[in-house]
Amino acid sequence: MTDAILRVTNLSRYFRVGGLRSSGTLHATDEVSFEVAPSEIVALVGESGSGKSTIARVLAGLYPPTSGEIVFEGEVQGKRPSRRVRGRMPMVFQDPFGSINPVLRVGHALERSLKLHRPELNAAQRDAEAVVLAEKVGLLPGADVLARYPHELSGGQRQRLGFAQALASRPSLILADEPVSMLDVSIRIGLLNVMKALRDEEHVSLLYITHDLASARYVADRMIVLYAGRIVEEGTTDEVITNPSHPYTRLLMATAPDPRLPLASDTDVADLGEPPKVINPGPGCRFAPRCPLAMDHCRTSTPAMVQLSATKRVACYALDAS
Protein backbone atom coordinates (compact mmCIF):
# COMPACT_ATOMS: atom_id res chain seq x y z
CA MET A 1 0.00 0.00 0.00
CA THR A 2 1.66 3.16 -1.11
CA ASP A 3 -0.59 5.41 0.87
CA ALA A 4 -0.34 3.63 4.20
CA ILE A 5 -0.26 6.10 7.08
CA LEU A 6 2.09 3.93 9.08
CA ARG A 7 4.53 1.35 7.87
CA VAL A 8 6.56 -0.49 10.48
CA THR A 9 9.40 -2.72 9.31
CA ASN A 10 11.31 -5.15 11.53
CA LEU A 11 10.70 -3.08 14.65
CA SER A 12 12.44 -4.41 17.74
CA ARG A 13 12.71 -3.08 21.23
CA TYR A 14 14.91 -4.80 23.77
CA PHE A 15 15.40 -4.02 27.45
CA ARG A 16 18.34 -4.87 29.59
CA VAL A 17 17.24 -6.81 32.64
CA GLY A 18 18.86 -8.40 35.62
CA GLY A 19 21.00 -7.09 38.42
CA LEU A 20 24.69 -7.02 39.11
CA ARG A 21 25.29 -10.72 38.82
CA SER A 22 23.14 -11.81 35.95
CA SER A 23 22.05 -9.80 33.01
CA GLY A 24 20.05 -10.50 29.95
CA THR A 25 18.14 -8.85 27.19
CA LEU A 26 14.40 -8.90 27.28
CA HIS A 27 13.02 -9.03 23.76
CA ALA A 28 9.84 -7.12 24.41
CA THR A 29 9.09 -6.92 20.72
CA ASP A 30 11.01 -8.60 17.96
CA GLU A 31 11.09 -7.79 14.25
CA VAL A 32 7.51 -6.74 13.93
CA SER A 33 6.29 -5.48 10.55
CA PHE A 34 2.84 -4.18 9.68
CA GLU A 35 0.96 -1.30 8.08
CA VAL A 36 -2.02 0.87 8.87
CA ALA A 37 -4.08 2.41 6.07
CA PRO A 38 -6.15 5.62 6.29
CA SER A 39 -9.56 5.34 8.00
CA GLU A 40 -8.83 1.89 9.29
CA ILE A 41 -8.90 0.30 12.73
CA VAL A 42 -6.19 -2.30 13.19
CA ALA A 43 -6.28 -4.39 16.35
CA LEU A 44 -3.05 -5.59 17.96
CA VAL A 45 -4.19 -8.56 19.98
CA GLY A 46 -2.16 -10.44 22.55
CA GLU A 47 -1.81 -11.35 26.20
CA SER A 48 0.50 -9.62 28.62
CA GLY A 49 4.09 -10.12 27.56
CA SER A 50 3.15 -10.14 23.90
CA GLY A 51 4.78 -6.78 23.29
CA LYS A 52 1.66 -4.96 22.19
CA SER A 53 2.02 -2.09 24.63
CA THR A 54 5.73 -1.81 23.88
CA ILE A 55 4.97 -1.31 20.20
CA ALA A 56 2.53 1.45 21.04
CA ARG A 57 4.99 3.17 23.33
CA VAL A 58 7.77 3.05 20.79
CA LEU A 59 5.44 4.54 18.18
CA ALA A 60 4.38 7.23 20.64
CA GLY A 61 7.99 8.19 21.18
CA LEU A 62 8.21 7.11 24.81
CA TYR A 63 11.09 4.74 24.03
CA PRO A 64 13.37 4.73 21.02
CA PRO A 65 13.34 1.51 18.98
CA THR A 66 16.32 -0.80 19.31
CA SER A 67 16.21 -1.52 15.59
CA GLY A 68 13.86 -1.38 12.66
CA GLU A 69 12.19 1.36 10.68
CA ILE A 70 9.09 3.42 11.25
CA VAL A 71 7.68 5.32 8.29
CA PHE A 72 4.86 7.66 9.21
CA GLU A 73 3.00 9.59 6.50
CA GLY A 74 5.79 8.82 4.12
CA GLU A 75 8.62 10.10 6.34
CA VAL A 76 11.17 7.87 8.00
CA GLN A 77 11.18 8.55 11.74
CA GLY A 78 14.33 9.10 13.76
CA LYS A 79 15.00 8.12 17.36
CA ARG A 80 12.38 10.47 18.72
CA PRO A 81 9.36 11.76 16.84
CA SER A 82 9.07 15.47 16.18
CA ARG A 83 6.35 17.46 17.90
CA ARG A 84 4.38 17.50 14.67
CA VAL A 85 4.46 13.73 14.43
CA ARG A 86 3.46 13.42 18.07
CA GLY A 87 0.43 15.46 17.24
CA ARG A 88 -0.44 13.38 14.21
CA MET A 89 0.00 10.10 16.12
CA PRO A 90 -1.17 10.66 19.72
CA MET A 91 -1.75 8.01 22.34
CA VAL A 92 -4.70 7.14 24.56
CA PHE A 93 -3.74 5.38 27.76
CA GLN A 94 -5.20 2.44 29.57
CA ASP A 95 -5.70 3.64 33.11
CA PRO A 96 -8.54 6.12 33.54
CA PHE A 97 -7.37 6.87 37.05
CA GLY A 98 -3.70 7.37 36.34
CA SER A 99 -3.73 9.02 32.95
CA ILE A 100 -5.07 12.42 34.04
CA ASN A 101 -3.28 14.75 36.45
CA PRO A 102 -5.43 14.75 39.61
CA VAL A 103 -4.71 18.31 40.68
CA LEU A 104 -5.53 20.05 37.41
CA ARG A 105 -8.90 20.56 35.80
CA VAL A 106 -9.67 18.06 33.07
CA GLY A 107 -9.74 20.73 30.39
CA HIS A 108 -6.09 21.53 31.02
CA ALA A 109 -4.48 18.71 29.03
CA LEU A 110 -6.90 19.28 26.20
CA GLU A 111 -5.96 22.95 26.05
CA ARG A 112 -2.26 22.06 26.13
CA SER A 113 -2.69 19.74 23.18
CA LEU A 114 -4.41 22.50 21.29
CA LYS A 115 -1.74 25.02 22.24
CA LEU A 116 1.11 22.76 21.18
CA HIS A 117 -0.34 21.41 17.98
CA ARG A 118 -2.76 24.04 16.70
CA PRO A 119 -0.76 27.26 17.05
CA GLU A 120 -3.02 29.03 14.61
CA LEU A 121 -5.79 29.25 17.22
CA ASN A 122 -5.97 32.05 19.76
CA ALA A 123 -7.10 31.54 23.34
CA ALA A 124 -10.80 32.06 22.72
CA GLN A 125 -10.75 29.75 19.72
CA ARG A 126 -8.96 27.13 21.78
CA ASP A 127 -11.63 27.27 24.46
CA ALA A 128 -14.36 26.86 21.87
CA GLU A 129 -12.58 24.04 20.13
CA ALA A 130 -12.04 22.23 23.44
CA VAL A 131 -15.79 22.24 24.03
CA VAL A 132 -16.44 20.95 20.51
CA LEU A 133 -13.97 18.11 21.01
CA ALA A 134 -15.43 17.13 24.37
CA GLU A 135 -18.91 16.97 22.88
CA LYS A 136 -17.71 14.94 19.92
CA VAL A 137 -16.74 12.11 22.24
CA GLY A 138 -20.00 12.28 24.11
CA LEU A 139 -19.06 14.46 27.12
CA LEU A 140 -22.04 16.78 27.46
CA PRO A 141 -22.31 19.60 28.32
CA GLY A 142 -18.73 20.15 27.18
CA ALA A 143 -17.93 23.37 29.03
CA ASP A 144 -19.26 21.98 32.29
CA VAL A 145 -17.31 18.74 32.08
CA LEU A 146 -14.07 20.47 31.17
CA ALA A 147 -14.27 22.62 34.29
CA ARG A 148 -14.35 19.63 36.58
CA TYR A 149 -11.57 17.82 38.35
CA PRO A 150 -10.74 14.23 37.38
CA HIS A 151 -12.13 12.72 40.57
CA GLU A 152 -15.53 14.09 39.61
CA LEU A 153 -15.67 12.08 36.40
CA SER A 154 -16.41 8.39 36.02
CA GLY A 155 -13.93 5.99 34.46
CA GLY A 156 -15.83 5.96 31.19
CA GLN A 157 -15.88 9.76 31.04
CA ARG A 158 -12.16 9.94 31.65
CA GLN A 159 -11.41 7.56 28.83
CA ARG A 160 -13.62 9.59 26.51
CA LEU A 161 -11.59 12.60 27.54
CA GLY A 162 -8.47 10.71 26.52
CA PHE A 163 -9.88 10.39 23.02
CA ALA A 164 -10.83 14.07 22.96
CA GLN A 165 -7.24 14.97 23.85
CA ALA A 166 -5.98 12.75 21.07
CA LEU A 167 -8.38 14.38 18.62
CA ALA A 168 -7.22 17.87 19.56
CA SER A 169 -4.06 17.65 17.51
CA ARG A 170 -5.87 16.62 14.29
CA PRO A 171 -4.31 13.16 14.19
CA SER A 172 -4.25 10.75 11.31
CA LEU A 173 -3.61 7.76 13.59
CA ILE A 174 -4.54 7.29 17.24
CA LEU A 175 -2.63 4.74 19.31
CA ALA A 176 -5.17 3.32 21.75
CA ASP A 177 -3.41 1.25 24.42
CA GLU A 178 -6.08 -0.98 25.98
CA PRO A 179 -8.47 1.96 26.36
CA VAL A 180 -11.37 -0.12 27.70
CA SER A 181 -9.62 -2.85 29.69
CA MET A 182 -10.01 -1.09 32.99
CA LEU A 183 -13.63 -0.14 32.48
CA ASP A 184 -16.67 -2.11 33.46
CA VAL A 185 -17.85 -4.35 30.72
CA SER A 186 -21.16 -2.54 30.39
CA ILE A 187 -19.41 0.80 29.79
CA ARG A 188 -16.99 -0.48 27.19
CA ILE A 189 -19.50 -0.43 24.40
CA GLY A 190 -19.83 3.35 24.66
CA LEU A 191 -16.10 3.81 24.17
CA LEU A 192 -15.94 1.25 21.38
CA ASN A 193 -18.67 3.15 19.59
CA VAL A 194 -16.70 6.36 20.00
CA MET A 195 -13.76 4.66 18.30
CA LYS A 196 -15.92 3.56 15.41
CA ALA A 197 -17.30 7.08 15.05
CA LEU A 198 -13.77 8.45 14.94
CA ARG A 199 -12.99 6.19 12.05
CA ASP A 200 -16.20 6.75 10.17
CA GLU A 201 -16.86 10.43 10.78
CA GLU A 202 -13.46 11.94 11.51
CA HIS A 203 -11.58 9.59 9.19
CA VAL A 204 -8.96 8.86 11.78
CA SER A 205 -7.21 5.49 11.84
CA LEU A 206 -6.74 3.67 15.10
CA LEU A 207 -4.26 1.13 16.31
CA TYR A 208 -6.34 -0.66 18.94
CA ILE A 209 -4.27 -2.62 21.43
CA THR A 210 -6.17 -5.19 23.43
CA HIS A 211 -6.26 -8.69 24.82
CA ASP A 212 -10.00 -9.01 24.23
CA LEU A 213 -10.88 -10.67 20.96
CA ALA A 214 -14.55 -9.82 21.15
CA SER A 215 -14.01 -6.06 21.36
CA ALA A 216 -11.36 -6.34 18.65
CA ARG A 217 -13.89 -8.02 16.45
CA TYR A 218 -16.43 -5.32 17.20
CA VAL A 219 -14.32 -2.39 16.06
CA ALA A 220 -11.40 -3.57 13.99
CA ASP A 221 -11.09 -3.94 10.25
CA ARG A 222 -7.91 -5.97 10.51
CA MET A 223 -6.34 -8.00 13.29
CA ILE A 224 -2.73 -8.71 14.13
CA VAL A 225 -2.12 -11.42 16.72
CA LEU A 226 1.05 -11.17 18.79
CA TYR A 227 2.75 -13.76 20.92
CA ALA A 228 5.89 -13.27 23.00
CA GLY A 229 6.97 -10.25 20.99
CA ARG A 230 6.35 -11.60 17.50
CA ILE A 231 3.47 -11.47 15.06
CA VAL A 232 1.96 -14.91 14.59
CA GLU A 233 -1.05 -14.12 12.46
CA GLU A 234 -2.47 -11.19 10.53
CA GLY A 235 -5.58 -10.77 8.43
CA THR A 236 -8.95 -9.08 8.08
CA THR A 237 -11.12 -9.43 11.16
CA ASP A 238 -13.48 -11.80 9.45
CA GLU A 239 -10.69 -14.04 8.28
CA VAL A 240 -9.00 -14.25 11.64
CA ILE A 241 -12.20 -14.79 13.61
CA THR A 242 -13.96 -17.25 11.38
CA ASN A 243 -10.89 -19.11 10.26
CA PRO A 244 -8.03 -18.77 12.75
CA SER A 245 -4.94 -20.46 11.36
CA HIS A 246 -2.25 -20.20 13.98
CA PRO A 247 -2.58 -22.56 16.98
CA TYR A 248 -2.23 -19.60 19.35
CA THR A 249 -5.06 -17.74 17.67
CA ARG A 250 -7.16 -20.84 17.99
CA LEU A 251 -6.32 -21.00 21.67
CA LEU A 252 -7.40 -17.39 22.13
CA MET A 253 -10.65 -18.04 20.30
CA ALA A 254 -11.36 -21.10 22.37
CA THR A 255 -10.75 -19.39 25.70
CA ALA A 256 -12.40 -16.04 25.01
CA PRO A 257 -15.23 -15.87 27.49
CA ASP A 258 -18.50 -15.69 25.64
CA PRO A 259 -21.75 -16.69 27.27
CA ARG A 260 -23.32 -17.40 23.94
CA LEU A 261 -20.84 -20.16 23.21
CA PRO A 262 -20.82 -23.56 24.85
CA LEU A 263 -17.79 -24.11 27.01
CA ALA A 264 -14.89 -25.72 25.16
CA SER A 265 -14.29 -29.17 26.56
CA ASP A 266 -11.41 -29.81 28.91
CA THR A 267 -9.23 -31.52 26.37
CA ASP A 268 -9.17 -28.46 24.15
CA VAL A 269 -8.00 -26.10 26.80
CA ALA A 270 -5.59 -27.56 29.30
CA ASP A 271 -3.36 -24.54 28.91
CA LEU A 272 -2.58 -22.57 32.03
CA GLY A 273 -2.06 -19.27 30.32
CA GLU A 274 1.64 -18.66 31.04
CA PRO A 275 3.16 -16.57 28.27
CA PRO A 276 6.94 -16.64 28.42
CA LYS A 277 9.25 -13.79 29.32
CA VAL A 278 11.53 -13.67 26.36
CA ILE A 279 14.98 -13.16 27.83
CA ASN A 280 17.99 -14.01 25.67
CA PRO A 281 15.92 -16.18 23.37
CA GLY A 282 17.38 -18.55 20.88
CA PRO A 283 15.94 -19.38 17.49
CA GLY A 284 12.74 -21.36 17.32
CA CYS A 285 9.03 -20.65 17.49
CA ARG A 286 8.21 -19.15 20.88
CA PHE A 287 4.84 -20.82 21.04
CA ALA A 288 6.33 -24.30 20.60
CA PRO A 289 6.32 -25.19 24.35
CA ARG A 290 2.55 -24.75 24.44
CA CYS A 291 1.70 -25.78 20.92
CA PRO A 292 -0.25 -28.96 20.23
CA LEU A 293 1.15 -29.09 16.71
CA ALA A 294 4.82 -28.50 17.55
CA MET A 295 7.39 -30.44 15.58
CA ASP A 296 11.17 -30.66 16.10
CA HIS A 297 11.73 -28.14 13.36
CA CYS A 298 9.62 -25.60 15.26
CA ARG A 299 11.98 -25.59 18.21
CA THR A 300 15.14 -24.98 16.26
CA SER A 301 14.18 -22.48 13.64
CA THR A 302 11.99 -19.39 13.78
CA PRO A 303 9.12 -19.49 11.31
CA ALA A 304 8.80 -16.56 8.92
CA MET A 305 5.53 -14.94 7.91
CA VAL A 306 3.93 -16.77 5.04
CA GLN A 307 1.23 -15.26 2.87
CA LEU A 308 -1.80 -17.59 2.99
CA SER A 309 -4.09 -15.35 0.97
CA ALA A 310 -4.17 -11.82 -0.34
CA THR A 311 -4.78 -10.47 3.12
CA LYS A 312 -3.77 -13.25 5.49
CA ARG A 313 -0.31 -14.00 6.80
CA VAL A 314 0.77 -16.59 9.36
CA ALA A 315 4.07 -17.59 10.93
CA CYS A 316 3.78 -21.29 11.53
CA TYR A 317 5.54 -24.30 10.08
CA ALA A 318 2.63 -26.61 10.75
CA LEU A 319 0.46 -24.72 8.32
CA ASP A 320 2.99 -24.27 5.56
CA ALA A 321 1.51 -25.56 2.40
CA SER A 322 3.53 -28.75 2.16
Partner: protein, 323 residues
Protein backbone atom coordinates in the same frame (compact mmCIF):
# COMPACT_ATOMS: atom_id res chain seq x y z
CA UNK B 1 -33.96 -29.23 50.24
CA UNK B 2 -30.91 -28.96 52.46
CA UNK B 3 -30.50 -26.09 54.85
CA UNK B 4 -28.69 -23.18 53.31
CA UNK B 5 -25.09 -22.68 54.34
CA UNK B 6 -25.52 -18.93 54.16
CA UNK B 7 -28.68 -16.95 54.81
CA UNK B 8 -28.57 -13.22 54.24
CA UNK B 9 -31.63 -11.23 55.23
CA UNK B 10 -32.21 -7.51 54.69
CA UNK B 11 -28.52 -6.67 54.79
CA UNK B 12 -27.94 -2.93 54.86
CA UNK B 13 -24.64 -1.12 54.62
CA UNK B 14 -24.10 2.64 54.77
CA UNK B 15 -21.05 4.64 53.79
CA UNK B 16 -20.49 7.83 55.75
CA UNK B 17 -20.00 10.77 53.38
CA UNK B 18 -19.86 14.52 53.99
CA UNK B 19 -23.37 14.75 52.50
CA UNK B 20 -24.98 12.06 54.57
CA UNK B 21 -24.98 8.27 54.53
CA UNK B 22 -24.81 6.56 51.14
CA UNK B 23 -26.96 3.44 50.97
CA UNK B 24 -24.43 1.13 49.46
CA UNK B 25 -26.32 -2.09 50.17
CA UNK B 26 -30.04 -1.77 50.54
CA UNK B 27 -31.90 -4.67 52.18
CA UNK B 28 -30.30 -7.52 50.26
CA UNK B 29 -31.55 -11.05 50.94
CA UNK B 30 -30.58 -14.39 49.47
CA UNK B 31 -29.67 -17.96 50.40
CA UNK B 32 -26.69 -20.01 49.41
CA UNK B 33 -26.98 -23.81 49.44
CA UNK B 34 -23.99 -26.00 50.41
CA UNK B 35 -21.69 -26.47 47.43
CA UNK B 36 -23.53 -23.91 45.33
CA UNK B 37 -21.80 -21.35 43.12
CA UNK B 38 -23.59 -18.02 43.24
CA UNK B 39 -22.31 -15.19 41.06
CA UNK B 40 -23.15 -11.56 41.83
CA UNK B 41 -22.84 -9.28 38.84
CA UNK B 42 -23.07 -5.51 38.49
CA UNK B 43 -21.32 -2.29 37.51
CA UNK B 44 -18.70 -0.58 39.67
CA UNK B 45 -20.37 1.09 42.59
CA UNK B 46 -23.42 -1.19 42.69
CA UNK B 47 -22.47 -2.43 46.13
CA UNK B 48 -21.45 -5.97 45.28
CA UNK B 49 -18.00 -5.82 46.84
CA UNK B 50 -19.36 -3.92 49.84
CA UNK B 51 -21.97 -6.62 50.32
CA UNK B 52 -19.29 -9.27 50.11
CA UNK B 53 -17.14 -7.63 52.73
CA UNK B 54 -20.11 -7.09 54.96
CA UNK B 55 -20.95 -10.78 54.82
CA UNK B 56 -17.35 -11.64 55.65
CA UNK B 57 -17.52 -9.12 58.53
CA UNK B 58 -14.57 -7.23 57.10
CA UNK B 59 -16.01 -3.74 56.77
CA UNK B 60 -14.28 -0.76 58.35
CA UNK B 61 -15.16 2.90 58.65
CA UNK B 62 -16.55 4.71 56.67
CA UNK B 63 -18.55 1.62 55.69
CA UNK B 64 -20.83 0.25 58.35
CA UNK B 65 -23.35 -2.57 58.44
CA UNK B 66 -26.48 -0.94 59.79
CA UNK B 67 -29.05 -3.66 59.47
CA UNK B 68 -29.89 -7.21 58.54
CA UNK B 69 -28.59 -10.64 59.48
CA UNK B 70 -26.03 -13.02 58.08
CA UNK B 71 -26.44 -16.60 59.24
CA UNK B 72 -23.72 -19.10 58.48
CA UNK B 73 -24.86 -22.64 59.21
CA UNK B 74 -27.40 -21.14 61.55
CA UNK B 75 -24.86 -19.01 63.45
CA UNK B 76 -25.54 -15.28 63.39
CA UNK B 77 -22.23 -13.73 62.29
CA UNK B 78 -23.06 -10.11 63.01
CA UNK B 79 -23.52 -10.83 66.69
CA UNK B 80 -20.22 -12.62 67.22
CA UNK B 81 -17.27 -11.08 69.01
CA UNK B 82 -14.02 -10.73 67.09
CA UNK B 83 -12.57 -13.71 68.95
CA UNK B 84 -15.57 -15.89 68.12
CA UNK B 85 -15.45 -14.73 64.51
CA UNK B 86 -11.83 -15.81 64.30
CA UNK B 87 -12.92 -19.36 64.91
CA UNK B 88 -14.93 -19.21 61.72
CA UNK B 89 -12.49 -17.27 59.64
CA UNK B 90 -10.60 -19.38 57.18
CA UNK B 91 -11.81 -22.62 58.69
CA UNK B 92 -15.35 -22.15 57.51
CA UNK B 93 -15.21 -19.07 55.32
CA UNK B 94 -12.18 -17.87 53.38
CA UNK B 95 -11.74 -14.92 51.05
CA UNK B 96 -9.92 -14.50 47.73
CA UNK B 97 -9.23 -10.85 46.98
CA UNK B 98 -9.27 -8.99 43.76
CA UNK B 99 -5.66 -8.25 43.11
CA UNK B 100 -3.26 -10.86 44.35
CA UNK B 101 -0.38 -8.45 43.96
CA UNK B 102 -1.97 -6.28 46.63
CA UNK B 103 -3.18 -9.09 48.84
CA UNK B 104 0.04 -11.08 49.03
CA UNK B 105 2.83 -9.75 51.22
CA UNK B 106 5.62 -8.88 48.79
CA UNK B 107 8.33 -9.42 51.38
CA UNK B 108 7.40 -12.96 52.39
CA UNK B 109 7.73 -16.14 50.40
CA UNK B 110 4.60 -18.03 49.42
CA UNK B 111 5.46 -20.80 51.81
CA UNK B 112 5.89 -18.36 54.67
CA UNK B 113 2.49 -16.83 54.00
CA UNK B 114 0.77 -20.19 53.83
CA UNK B 115 2.46 -21.14 57.08
CA UNK B 116 1.31 -17.87 58.58
CA UNK B 117 -2.30 -18.72 57.83
CA UNK B 118 -1.96 -22.20 59.28
CA UNK B 119 -0.40 -20.95 62.45
CA UNK B 120 -3.05 -18.29 62.92
CA UNK B 121 -5.93 -20.72 62.81
CA UNK B 122 -4.61 -24.12 63.82
CA UNK B 123 -2.03 -25.70 66.05
CA UNK B 124 -0.49 -27.89 63.38
CA UNK B 125 3.11 -28.98 63.58
CA UNK B 126 5.61 -27.58 61.10
CA UNK B 127 5.67 -30.90 59.30
CA UNK B 128 1.92 -30.87 58.87
CA UNK B 129 2.01 -27.27 57.68
CA UNK B 130 4.61 -28.12 55.06
CA UNK B 131 2.65 -31.11 53.92
CA UNK B 132 -0.62 -29.24 53.64
CA UNK B 133 1.05 -26.30 51.85
CA UNK B 134 2.49 -28.64 49.25
CA UNK B 135 -0.91 -30.27 48.90
CA UNK B 136 -2.80 -27.06 48.19
CA UNK B 137 -0.21 -25.82 45.72
CA UNK B 138 -0.50 -29.07 43.83
CA UNK B 139 -4.27 -28.59 43.76
CA UNK B 140 -3.84 -25.34 41.86
CA UNK B 141 -1.11 -26.67 39.58
CA UNK B 142 1.73 -24.69 41.07
CA UNK B 143 5.04 -26.48 41.32
CA UNK B 144 5.90 -27.13 44.97
CA UNK B 145 9.33 -25.52 44.53
CA UNK B 146 7.49 -22.21 44.47
CA UNK B 147 6.99 -22.40 48.21
CA UNK B 148 10.26 -20.55 48.38
CA UNK B 149 9.34 -18.01 45.70
CA UNK B 150 8.29 -14.47 46.37
CA UNK B 151 5.15 -13.03 44.82
CA UNK B 152 7.02 -10.86 42.33
CA UNK B 153 8.64 -13.95 40.89
CA UNK B 154 5.32 -15.46 39.91
CA UNK B 155 3.14 -14.42 36.99
CA UNK B 156 -0.25 -12.79 37.59
CA UNK B 157 -2.09 -16.01 36.97
CA UNK B 158 0.12 -17.94 39.33
CA UNK B 159 -0.28 -15.36 42.08
CA UNK B 160 -4.04 -15.57 41.82
CA UNK B 161 -3.87 -19.35 41.97
CA UNK B 162 -1.64 -19.06 45.02
CA UNK B 163 -4.39 -16.97 46.63
CA UNK B 164 -6.86 -19.72 45.93
CA UNK B 165 -4.48 -22.28 47.37
CA UNK B 166 -4.30 -20.15 50.49
CA UNK B 167 -8.07 -20.05 50.66
CA UNK B 168 -8.23 -23.84 50.54
CA UNK B 169 -5.75 -24.51 53.33
CA UNK B 170 -8.32 -25.32 55.99
CA UNK B 171 -10.95 -26.84 53.73
CA UNK B 172 -13.59 -24.18 54.21
CA UNK B 173 -17.22 -24.67 53.37
CA UNK B 174 -17.56 -21.30 51.71
CA UNK B 175 -15.09 -19.32 49.64
CA UNK B 176 -15.87 -15.69 48.92
CA UNK B 177 -14.21 -14.30 45.79
CA UNK B 178 -14.00 -10.64 44.88
CA UNK B 179 -13.23 -10.26 41.16
CA UNK B 180 -10.29 -12.67 41.25
CA UNK B 181 -9.97 -12.74 37.48
CA UNK B 182 -10.11 -9.08 36.57
CA UNK B 183 -6.33 -8.61 36.43
CA UNK B 184 -5.75 -11.71 34.33
CA UNK B 185 -5.48 -12.36 30.62
CA UNK B 186 -8.02 -14.44 28.78
CA UNK B 187 -6.28 -17.80 28.86
CA UNK B 188 -5.25 -17.45 32.49
CA UNK B 189 -8.78 -16.41 33.35
CA UNK B 190 -10.30 -19.47 31.75
CA UNK B 191 -7.76 -21.71 33.41
CA UNK B 192 -8.44 -20.20 36.81
CA UNK B 193 -12.19 -20.61 36.50
CA UNK B 194 -11.77 -24.22 35.46
CA UNK B 195 -9.52 -24.85 38.39
CA UNK B 196 -12.04 -23.36 40.77
CA UNK B 197 -14.76 -25.47 39.22
CA UNK B 198 -12.77 -28.70 39.46
CA UNK B 199 -11.85 -28.03 43.05
CA UNK B 200 -15.43 -27.24 43.90
CA UNK B 201 -16.56 -30.56 42.46
CA UNK B 202 -13.81 -32.34 44.30
CA UNK B 203 -14.05 -30.67 47.68
CA UNK B 204 -17.66 -29.52 47.77
CA UNK B 205 -17.28 -25.92 48.95
CA UNK B 206 -19.76 -23.20 48.08
CA UNK B 207 -18.63 -20.12 46.18
CA UNK B 208 -19.88 -16.56 46.38
CA UNK B 209 -18.29 -14.78 43.40
CA UNK B 210 -18.48 -11.09 42.62
CA UNK B 211 -17.61 -9.66 39.21
CA UNK B 212 -18.47 -6.93 36.75
CA UNK B 213 -17.85 -9.25 33.81
CA UNK B 214 -20.54 -11.87 33.70
CA UNK B 215 -19.09 -13.74 30.76
CA UNK B 216 -16.40 -14.97 33.11
CA UNK B 217 -18.91 -16.81 35.28
CA UNK B 218 -21.48 -17.66 32.67
CA UNK B 219 -20.31 -21.24 32.30
CA UNK B 220 -19.53 -21.92 35.90
CA UNK B 221 -22.06 -20.46 38.28
CA UNK B 222 -25.25 -22.24 39.32
CA UNK B 223 -27.19 -19.09 40.00
CA UNK B 224 -26.69 -15.49 39.04
CA UNK B 225 -27.70 -12.38 40.95
CA UNK B 226 -27.72 -9.01 39.20
CA UNK B 227 -27.13 -6.03 41.47
CA UNK B 228 -27.92 -2.42 40.77
CA UNK B 229 -27.43 0.56 43.08
CA UNK B 230 -27.28 -1.59 46.19
CA UNK B 231 -30.22 -3.88 45.46
CA UNK B 232 -30.59 -7.27 43.84
CA UNK B 233 -32.76 -6.73 40.78
CA UNK B 234 -32.75 -10.25 39.39
CA UNK B 235 -31.80 -13.67 40.73
CA UNK B 236 -32.16 -17.00 39.01
CA UNK B 237 -30.39 -19.93 37.39
CA UNK B 238 -27.42 -18.66 35.40
CA UNK B 239 -28.44 -20.01 32.06
CA UNK B 240 -31.99 -18.77 32.51
CA UNK B 241 -30.95 -15.25 33.40
CA UNK B 242 -28.63 -15.14 30.40
CA UNK B 243 -31.03 -16.47 27.88
CA UNK B 244 -34.18 -14.83 29.18
CA UNK B 245 -33.38 -11.81 31.31
CA UNK B 246 -36.52 -10.22 32.71
CA UNK B 247 -35.35 -7.05 34.40
CA UNK B 248 -34.64 -4.21 31.92
CA UNK B 249 -31.21 -3.65 33.48
CA UNK B 250 -30.28 -7.32 33.10
CA UNK B 251 -31.30 -7.32 29.47
CA UNK B 252 -29.34 -4.14 28.94
CA UNK B 253 -26.30 -5.78 30.50
CA UNK B 254 -26.59 -8.97 28.47
CA UNK B 255 -26.74 -6.83 25.41
CA UNK B 256 -23.61 -4.84 26.20
CA UNK B 257 -21.26 -7.64 25.21
CA UNK B 258 -19.70 -7.83 21.81
CA UNK B 259 -19.46 -11.45 20.77
CA UNK B 260 -16.94 -13.33 18.74
CA UNK B 261 -19.60 -15.40 17.06
CA UNK B 262 -22.76 -14.55 15.27
CA UNK B 263 -23.51 -11.64 13.03
CA UNK B 264 -21.76 -8.38 13.77
CA UNK B 265 -24.31 -5.90 15.06
CA UNK B 266 -24.42 -2.45 16.51
CA UNK B 267 -24.62 -2.43 20.32
CA UNK B 268 -25.63 0.53 22.42
CA UNK B 269 -25.10 -0.41 26.07
CA UNK B 270 -27.14 1.29 28.77
CA UNK B 271 -27.46 5.05 28.61
CA UNK B 272 -27.14 7.22 31.72
CA UNK B 273 -25.41 6.82 35.06
CA UNK B 274 -26.21 5.03 38.30
CA UNK B 275 -28.22 7.10 40.81
CA UNK B 276 -26.86 8.93 43.81
CA UNK B 277 -26.77 6.60 46.79
CA UNK B 278 -26.98 9.53 49.20
CA UNK B 279 -30.14 10.90 47.68
CA UNK B 280 -31.68 7.99 45.75
CA UNK B 281 -34.85 8.26 43.68
CA UNK B 282 -38.10 7.57 45.47
CA UNK B 283 -39.31 4.90 43.09
CA UNK B 284 -37.40 2.23 41.23
CA UNK B 285 -33.68 3.01 41.27
CA UNK B 286 -33.34 2.05 37.62
CA UNK B 287 -36.34 4.08 36.41
CA UNK B 288 -34.31 7.17 35.33
CA UNK B 289 -32.44 5.00 32.82
CA UNK B 290 -35.21 2.61 31.89
CA UNK B 291 -36.80 2.87 28.49
CA UNK B 292 -39.99 1.28 29.75
CA UNK B 293 -40.47 3.19 32.99
CA UNK B 294 -44.03 4.12 33.91
CA UNK B 295 -45.32 6.60 36.47
CA UNK B 296 -45.71 3.81 38.96
CA UNK B 297 -42.08 2.91 38.47
CA UNK B 298 -41.05 6.42 39.37
CA UNK B 299 -43.24 6.64 42.45
CA UNK B 300 -43.11 3.23 44.10
CA UNK B 301 -39.99 1.20 44.82
CA UNK B 302 -40.61 -2.34 43.52
CA UNK B 303 -40.05 -5.32 45.79
CA UNK B 304 -38.11 -8.44 44.89
CA UNK B 305 -40.81 -10.91 43.92
CA UNK B 306 -40.22 -14.60 43.35
CA UNK B 307 -42.04 -16.51 40.66
CA UNK B 308 -41.19 -19.77 38.89
CA UNK B 309 -37.70 -19.91 40.41
CA UNK B 310 -36.73 -16.43 39.37
CA UNK B 311 -36.75 -13.31 41.54
CA UNK B 312 -37.19 -10.00 39.81
CA UNK B 313 -37.52 -6.47 41.16
CA UNK B 314 -39.64 -4.75 38.56
CA UNK B 315 -43.19 -3.48 38.33
CA UNK B 316 -43.42 -4.40 34.69
CA UNK B 317 -42.66 -8.01 35.47
CA UNK B 318 -44.64 -8.17 38.69
CA UNK B 319 -47.53 -5.76 38.36
CA UNK B 320 -48.86 -4.79 41.75
CA UNK B 321 -52.41 -5.75 42.38
CA UNK B 322 -54.41 -2.89 43.78
CA UNK B 323 -56.57 -4.46 46.44
Amino acid sequence: MSTPILEVRDLQVHYATPHGPAQAVNKVSFDLAPGEFLAVVGESGCGKSTMLFSIAQLLTYPAETVGGTVRFNGVELTSLSPEELRQHRWRDISVVMQSAMNALNPTLSIGAQLADVCRAHTDWSDAKIAERSAEVLAMVSIDVTHLKSFPFQLSGGMRQRAMIAMALLLEPQLIIMDEPTSALDVVAQRSLMRQVENLRRQLGFAVLFVTHDMSVVSHFSDRLAVMYAGEIVELGTTRDVFDRPRHPYSSGLMDAFPSIVGAARELTGIAGNPPSLVDPPVGCLFAPRCAHATDECREVRPALVASADREVRCHLVNPRRVS
